[in-house]
């Protein structure tokens, strides 16, 4: 469906940058016929458009970059993030509320979960005074770090960034790369050692299920 809509837009002479621009206008609350048409063409199916995918890729990479171990892009976290949002994971099945409410065409069905990503995108674009995704990586990092700091101030629990960040971390640390290369994964430990020393190289376990649930 998304592919079809991009093709249709292409026939009308819009390139990807313009598409994102249209998304930005929508994000800023400036309803445009093309943006509404784009939503309509996708049938509000909940599948992500190119702009949402681009944002998912940048956010995932910024939260968990490649270091001495592979990062979120190698672990295909953006795919997970978009899948997770389209199924309402981590409480994204209901739309963000208050100042983070999603703008959408009257009568259109709620796009499951993706509204949370859109809300973060709107904030970042507003902070960027333009298109966040097309900024240089350093500038993106600084803006996202500022947004992260703001979201984690006391009383800001409803900020949509919490859910997006949670899903990015979840996608990475439950992937094979994040779970078994970055962290340790041992499905069958075979023994219990109640008191052992931690060394400088000791890595956490992704298979410590109690820690995953309650840590």
């Amino acid at each position: 469906m998304a592919q079809h809509s991009e093709q249709a837009l292409g026939e009308r002479g819009l390139d990807r940058r313009q598409l994102i621009g249209a998304g930005l206008l929508l994000a800023l609350g400036v309803g445009t016929p093309i943006a509404l048409w784009r939503r309509h063409a996708e049938g509000e199916s909940g599948s992500a458009d190119a702009g949402q995918r681009a944002l998912a890729e940048r956010l995932s990479d910024l939260v968990v970059p490649a270091t001495d171990t592979p990062g979120a892009l190698a672990a295909r976290v953006p795919d997970w993030l978009l899948l997770a949002l389209s199924h309402g994971q981590a409480g994204t099945g209901t739309q963000p509320a208050g100042p983070f409410a999603t703008v959408r065409a009257v009568g259109a069905a709620a796009p499951m979960g993706l509204g949370w990503l859109d809300a973060v995108g709107r904030q970042l674009n507003a902070m960027a005074r333009g298109d966040f995704v097309s900024l240089p990586a350093k500038a993106q990092h600084d803006l996202l770090a500022a947004l992260d700091a703001e979201a984690f101030k006391p009383g800001n629990d409803a900020h949509p960034w919490h859910k997006i960040k949670e899903l990015i971390l979840t996608g990475y640390y439950t992937s094979e790369i994040g779970g078994s290369q970055e962290l340790r994964y041992e499905l069958v430990p075979g023994r219990w050692e109640p008191d052992i020393p931690i060394g400088p190289q000791t890595r956490a376990f992704s298979s410590d299920w109690t820690a995953v649930d309650f840590g």
Binding site: G88, Y173, G179, V188, P189, W192, E193, P194, I196, R203
Partner: protein, 560 residues
């Protein structure tokens, strides 16, 4: 299949498995009826899966859960690896009282909740069996600890319970396999509590996970993913333990996908003649007859069957001439009483996933009345743990710095969860919903349940004491609660067909036999006349083994 048996056992969970084992080993021909599908031991489909091998990384499809599992998905052990061990709420409805909530967490498959249970095994003491008589809540138990002690021995030895003997009057020691060790922080907290409060004891949770091999069962592999099913047979379940023992006798007939609609009674002899069974695969009913019936369908479902089994002789439900069937249901009032950051052990960690936590047995209202505004008591479970990557959800930060932080073993925390005794009250009761039916056209169960002031006062005290103990151990208390979760949240729902000496105030006698129907036994949680504050499954198993022994004797003596 021959439709005539010596005994019919309804339900293949923890107590049904025991009844099948005991009765077949005594030489009886037994029909075991399970309402859900078969799940063969060793063929647990998600047991060895990693999160990245699951479509939703082990967390499951939130959209599907909202539609099909809105209640079950609130269970701590419910996830993508275990969801097939829970019922679908949309096709297994029940109703609750006005303004009330009840989490009826269930598993309808071979083995029932024996696959997903918490495995904690605690004996009751005479503080518990004597409680109703002592303070007047509920009706007196017809048995005391001495009646059940030999059966606790028998059950523990077969189950394989690892634990530490502590010599506590409120929590009698049993026949234990070697205990799993406390971790370094728990060991420290044990020492502090023991020194500052000599009447309190922190010990490792007594659990049905093997630390030594038993026949056909390997010892625990320290995975702590038990609810997926364990092909090692390292924890007690119907599949790993009682079912193979029953099948080895050659006396067992097992049917799955078969719901017992009603227990049928001869109006002249007033004895149960058999059961009417709905085969959910074919939609057809069949009848099976037997010389005696054991109901082990789980507390609420056994009561549900009795309520459904109305006749001219028993218009209010089978075995309900007293009118107390369905009443006095209970579930422990539980809450997270305290979580604290623990300091001084930053250079220590553990290896492996121990499948049990700690327990601090009841210390209130034992030999002195020291509960502030409440009778009876509560106990804590929980443990010390270290954080892993999930702490990142609550932390500010992005990028390489955050990745580096989450790479490391996180800080130690200690958690204390309280289970408070639930007083038996007539107003907490099960009835047949007059309107709602399930997918098979059977009347849905209606659950009216509220925790009371006694439970709330106990939880308030538990929060105060949890904070005191965690801080005494050097912890930084983070938070805790003093209000219980919705009824059912402890998954210790019990009562509804209580045991008692008086047929006018109880449903079952001292042998778990219906006062009204001499060849009908109910030996699951329905039989409970009070709740104590211990996890109840071990007591259900001991009651079942004891009742089976009595039933076989009665049968052989021609008294049934």
């Amino acid at each position: 299949m021959s439709a005539t048996f010596d005994a019919i056992v309804v339900g293949s969970g923890i107590t049904g498995g025991w009844a099948a084992k005991e009765l077949t080993q005594a030489g009886l021909k037994v029909l075991l009826v399970e309402r859900g599908p078969d799940e063969p031991h060793g063929q647990y489909p998600t047991e060895m899966k990693a999160p990245w091998e699951m479509p939703f990384r082990g967390m499951g499809d939130a959209q599907e859960y909202l539609k099909s599992y809105p209640v079950q998905s609130g269970n701590r052990h419910f996830n993508e690896f275990t969801q097939h061990h829970f019922v679908r709420d949309d096709i297994n409805p029940y109703t609750v009282g006005e303004g009330q909530a009840f989490n009826w967490w269930r598993g309808y498959q071979l083995g029932g909740r024996s696959l997903t249970w918490g495995r904690q095994c605690y004996r009751w003491s005479d503080y518990d069996f004597g409680a109703n008589k002592a303070d007047g809540h509920g009706s007196d138990w017809p048995i005391r600890y001495a009646d059940l002690a030999p059966w606790y021995d028998k059950v523990e030895e077969f189950v394989g319970v690892s634990g530490s003997a502590e010599g506590l009057a409120a929590l009698p020691d049993g026949r234990f396999q070697p205990p799993m060790a406390l971790n370094v922080v728990e060991q420290h907290v044990r020492g502090v509590i023991g020194q500052q409060w000599p009447d309190r004891c922190l010990t490792v949770g007594r659990t049905a996970n093997l630390t030594q091999e038993k026949e056909g069962r390997a010892k625990c592999q320290y995975r702590s993913i038990c609810a997926r099913g364990c092909s090692y047979g390292a924890y007690f379940s119907t599949q790993s333990s009682t079912l193979p023992a029953a099948q080895a006798t050659g006396n067992l007939t097992l049917v799955t996908d078969s719901i017992v609609d009603q227990v049928e009674v001869d109006p002249v002899t007033r004895k149960a003649t058999g059961v009417l069974i709905l085969n959910t695969a074919t939609g057809k009913h069949m009848r099976a007859t037997a010389r005696m019936i054991f109901l082990n369908a789980s507390a609420f479902n056994s009561v549900h069957i009795l309520l459904r089994s109305r006749s001219e002789l028993f218009p209010k439900g089978l075995a309900n001439t007293s009118g107390v069937l369905g009443t006095h249901i209970m579930d422990h009032a539980s809450t997270l009483s305290g979580m604290a950051l623990m300091h001084g052990f930053e250079d220590r960690t553990t290896y492996g996933n121990r499948p049990t936590g700690i327990v601090i047995p009841r210390f209130r209202n034992l030999d002195k009345t020291d509960g502030r505004g409440f009778t009876r008591g509560y106990s804590y479970q929980g443990g010390a743990l270290q954080s892993t990557w999930t702490q990142g959800k609550r932390m500010p930060g992005i990028g390489a710095e955050m990745k580096d932080t989450l790479h490391k073993v996180g800080p130690w925390k200690m958690v204390l969860v309280t289970y408070a005794e639930s007083l038996p009250r007539a107003s907490n009761r099960l009835t047949l919903d007059p309107v709602r039916t399930d997918a098979h056209g059977m009347a849905a169960l209606h659950i009216a349940f509220d925790h009371g002031a006694n439970e709330r006062a106990a939880l308030a005290d538990a929060k105060t004491e949890a904070k005191a103990m965690l801080e005494a151990a050097g912890g930084t208390y983070l938070f805790g609660f003093d209000q219980p979760g919705a009824g059912g949240s402890s998954i210790h729902e019990m009562g509804g067909a209580r045991m008692g000496n008086d047929p006018s105030t109880s449903v079952l006698d001292k042998w778990n036999r219906a006062h009204d129907v001499p060849n009908l036994f109910v030996t699951d949680g329905a039989a409970m006349a009070s709740s104590a504050c211990q996890n109840p499954s071990l007591t259900y198993m001991a009651l079942t083994a004891r009742a089976c022994d009595a039933a076989v004797t009665m049968l052989k003596d021609g008294r049934l």
